[in-house]
Symmetry: D2
Subunit: 332 residues, 4 copies
């Protein structure tokens, strides 16, 4: 019952997936790796006892591969996911599912035609114990209905290729997914507010992204890619009878040199290490057991649609409505 996984993309994210799958996930093993850079693929394949493939399509097609992780550059996602659907193999695709809504709809069309769900999108935060506890508190009913979700998403320093649009489409997209998942409803409207720019940023940073949910709740997201002090994700769900707030995980408090507190990591991986492990385990379990977990292709499409509306609002300075295609019954 060990699922044989093929990995496409042997960069930072792919390497992490390979390591987690090979050391901390039950019921799976890494069978195949491919990357545009053959030496990177070979390195990971060697470390994990997998076979390196020169070509992603051959990896998808190979009989030794039962399920695929797509962790290659964003523009390649659509074609690879379509390839997996054509081969009828389950696929965990790193976000974004597609770089445009058109790409995402193409995938939805193919999966709908197939008639069963094979695609999971890598919105790992749904598996973070903190977010899960927050959703558990909401779903328990003890706090009443959710009214507001405050989000903070901070990176220490933005990547050299970051753009003002990317603050929304690449970073805040995680909160977009969390908001839809938390409230169980779509985003109706997006408004982007631009405070004065940090002198550490070469683009519009920070931004405040406001979202009106279809049911009337409001989500505000501070997205700040150059906060300097570390990677930090926070959130507070404000309900009718109380609130639930994320606590950044930190095993110890240090008292040293005049200060008492704890450290923030330089990037997102330590913060969401547990989320990635649990996400991969849930994906493998779903592959083994047949019932889908995590974000669907529809979720991937909707997140991209909301991000597109956000980018439009950033450009016009006015609110932008989110207009979604009709939702196929497959995703109900």
């Amino acid at each position: 019952m060990t699922i044989r996984v093929g990995l496409i993309g042997a960069g930072v994210m792919g390497g992490d997936h390979a390591r987690i799958l090979s050391t901390s996930v039950n019921g799976a093993r890494l069978a195949a790796v491919s990357d545009a850079d053959a030496s990177r693929a070979a390195a990971i394949a060697g470390a994990c006892g997998a076979t390196a493939f020169p070509d992603a399509d051959k990896l998808i097609a190979d009989a030794s591969v039962e399920a695929v992780i797509v962790a290659s550059p964003d523009p390649t996602h659509k074609a690879l996911v379509l390839g997996c659907l054509a081969a009828e193999k389950p696929v965990l695709c790193e976000k974004p599912l597609g770089v445009t809504t058109a790409e995402c709809l193409e995938i939805i069309g193919a999966e709908t035609a197939l008639g069963r769900r094979l695609v999971q999108v890598g919105f790992m935060r749904r598996f973070d114990p903190g977010y899960a506890a927050m959703k558990g508190a909401l779903d328990s009913g003890d706090l009443g209905r959710g009214l507001i979700l405050h989000c903070v998403h901070r990176n220490q320093i933005s990547a050299s290729y970051s753009t003002s649009e990317g603050v929304i489409a690449n970073s805040a997209v995680h909160e977009i997914d969390i908001a839809r998942w938390m409230f169980g409803e779509e985003v109706a409207r997006v408004t982007v507010i631009v405070p004065r720019q940090s002198s550490h940023a070469g683009m519009q940073d920070p931004q405040i992204i406001l979202m009106h949910m279809a049911g009337g709740a409001v989500v505000d997201i501070e997205a700040y890619l150059n906060c300097q002090y570390g990677y930090d994700v926070r959130g507070e769900l404000v309900c009718e009878s109380g609130t639930a707030e994320l606590v950044p995980p930190h095993g110890i408090t240090l008292r040293r040199a005049g200060q008492e507190g704890f450290g923030h990591p330089e990037d997102w991986r330590p913060r969401f290490a547990e989320a990635y492990r649990i996400e991969l385990q849930a994906w493998i379990d779903s592959v083994a057991g047949g019932s889908p977990a995590g974000a669907s292709a529809w979720d991937g499409y909707a997140a991209t649609a909301v991000a597109e509306a956000g980018v439009a609002s950033l450009k016009t300075g006015t609110p932008a409505d989110v207009r979604l295609a009709a939702k196929p019954a497959l995703y109900d």
Copy 2:
């Protein structure tokens, strides 16, 4: 060198001021009290060794009174403050200075004509050790320029007379003052966002009030008068190189019955007990020493002007610009 203080208004707030002044402030004593309800005035006067006056105007005029606290109902503030100015006596006026900008401008006109500052408005949060530490961190330069100020203002249950407009004009007005004081600049534009209403609220509650400061910083305020769990004020100042966040004061953590944590008070007075004491001491010191402290009549006017813009935005659903009169040199 003991300042003899007259108190107008012997309700909850006036009673607190009387108690603090008589037990915890250096260099002052309560000399006179008046209230529309003579028995309330007599009770406080008796407890503090002061004289009860049947009439506020007579109290202001009396030679035994050197400085006046106005804690009577909001619509009476303007006339009483003008009376103090006419008598050339320093006055600490509870917020709001006037219920309209027109009233506030009348006071500013009188004080400007007098040529010296005698009016302090009771925005006590400026004296809260937490806010003071936050401003100290900003002014130190260690965090770089301020970019965003996140505010949360929650009351357990709203008063029976609360209104949707009052969420802004009576509650969020504290954050309006804090924002102007923190950044040292005026509010340029206000946008009120309305999430779905709590089923515990008979009005639009909660609200999110967004403010663009003149220099480009953005302030967001969650104002929520029926949060159910207690009185809670929070804030985080997001700067170019770090952030500073308020910590609700609580002397102990309790571990009991499955829970670890601390309690929130039912109203604002325990939360800001220190702020009120320090505010009164600073006011008495300024009366004794001549140099003004705290919020000026201009600050009171500007806060009311921003609140008026907020109410306009709430009604129209669109952003409202804040247009202020020219600022007299007296307030520079």
Copy 3:
């Protein structure tokens, strides 16, 4: 490369091990289960696709079993571990290794005669991320030498069979192991102090167990089995240049009904869920790779020896020296 594990003991602890091994550990599967109560063994075996064995010895001997977990009642541990050693199969034995030092020494004798380490004792806290971070801080040298370790070990309610001696031998024994591991040295002397007894306890509870380490550091342990409010483990390592303190993991802070805080679980399993998973993974990795992890048979012996000294001190009211046998080179 999947290790086939046999489980002896299908109670609460054994059931947890079976579940974790079958759902969250890489490279292993549960192959066999036995229990004095055959129906309990059958239930777990059925759920995990394992074979139920009527007899523990047969399970150890069976070729389908490559490694053994001993989670049966304490008095059975010694014979079962000796059986595993005789069969030359790696064994993870729940604490205690033996109920007396004599039993532990018998195991050490057998393992030493074999000439290689096959025994790991289930002191799972060594794998807790908080304790690991604390030890990491100490080993980094940033805090200087460790001088004091304060420990708090609280259970909500003691089991019906708990005794005053068991407070030390069954509960504080975890801190005894942590202290030896943290400082990398043996305990030299134990002194048990008895405060007045809680009216909720039918035995001497709480207790304070003081330990002088061989190198001069001091460890104090508050062991309190009837604290009423929940399961709570805390610790602070006090060093020459700072301190490190455990933070109980909790994904969210709740604000509700006047309180802000988080909950404590009713028993130890949620608190140490991560520790158990990591412990099992490390054990499986060591079985697969050959190099031992976690607490050795020597560690199990030493913990029992310290607990015995603690029980002696409890009875006499005076300090008790810890006298250990010579340490075989196998454990260096």
Copy 4:
């Protein structure tokens, strides 16, 4: 009704008292100052509008002085307090009341002969809001009886004149008083435990001081004068149904340079600023109103007696019983 206060001792502590009394206390003013160093006395007297006295005895005797603060070097306390008693003037004496129990008993004899309480000892922690909340929680009965009090008392760096005995007699003496006050009973036995010494310390530092209270509760104190990271006082009261723990006051959390947390001060004064203000106010109120507040001469004697037992235990390495004189009815 303004109490005219004379201050003896114009050092760090005396200067603080003068400043607090002159700026933040109701109903008092500094009337007179004396110090062995006349220029120090003159500086404070000038700043506060008081008269400098060349001689402490003349200050006590002067008709302009109604109540006296003794903040001069420890060995002078006894004679000055006796002088105040002879003059029948209330006196707030900084701890210790006397440097030996014999000195303290001499004062108790004089006050008892006088037949009314005029002496308050400056154990200011009783007025700290945190400790007061802890005692409030205990006295409410919600937590059941107190069983253990854990205390931590850390200074950044010890003074050049500090000694191993002084760790107990000058530092831990604060916890000795807090323990007696918290439990409302005497200390029966003291045991001092010595961990290995910090390489930053030129004496036995840290120490653990264990106290058995007369009623059976146990108090443990970590006293550590060279912890390097700052001044830090902590405490947790462990009761039958829950615990209460001090939270160091800090108005804001800072996130900066990879860290999230707050700072500790370099010495005790910021930590206990509120305690000193409230203590002085309570003393002035008691002088004005006649009923004593805070620690009595008996409390000062008992604390010194316990510290002497602690020093004896430090020297012998064995527990030391505390033997108190009969308690005069004046202190019931």
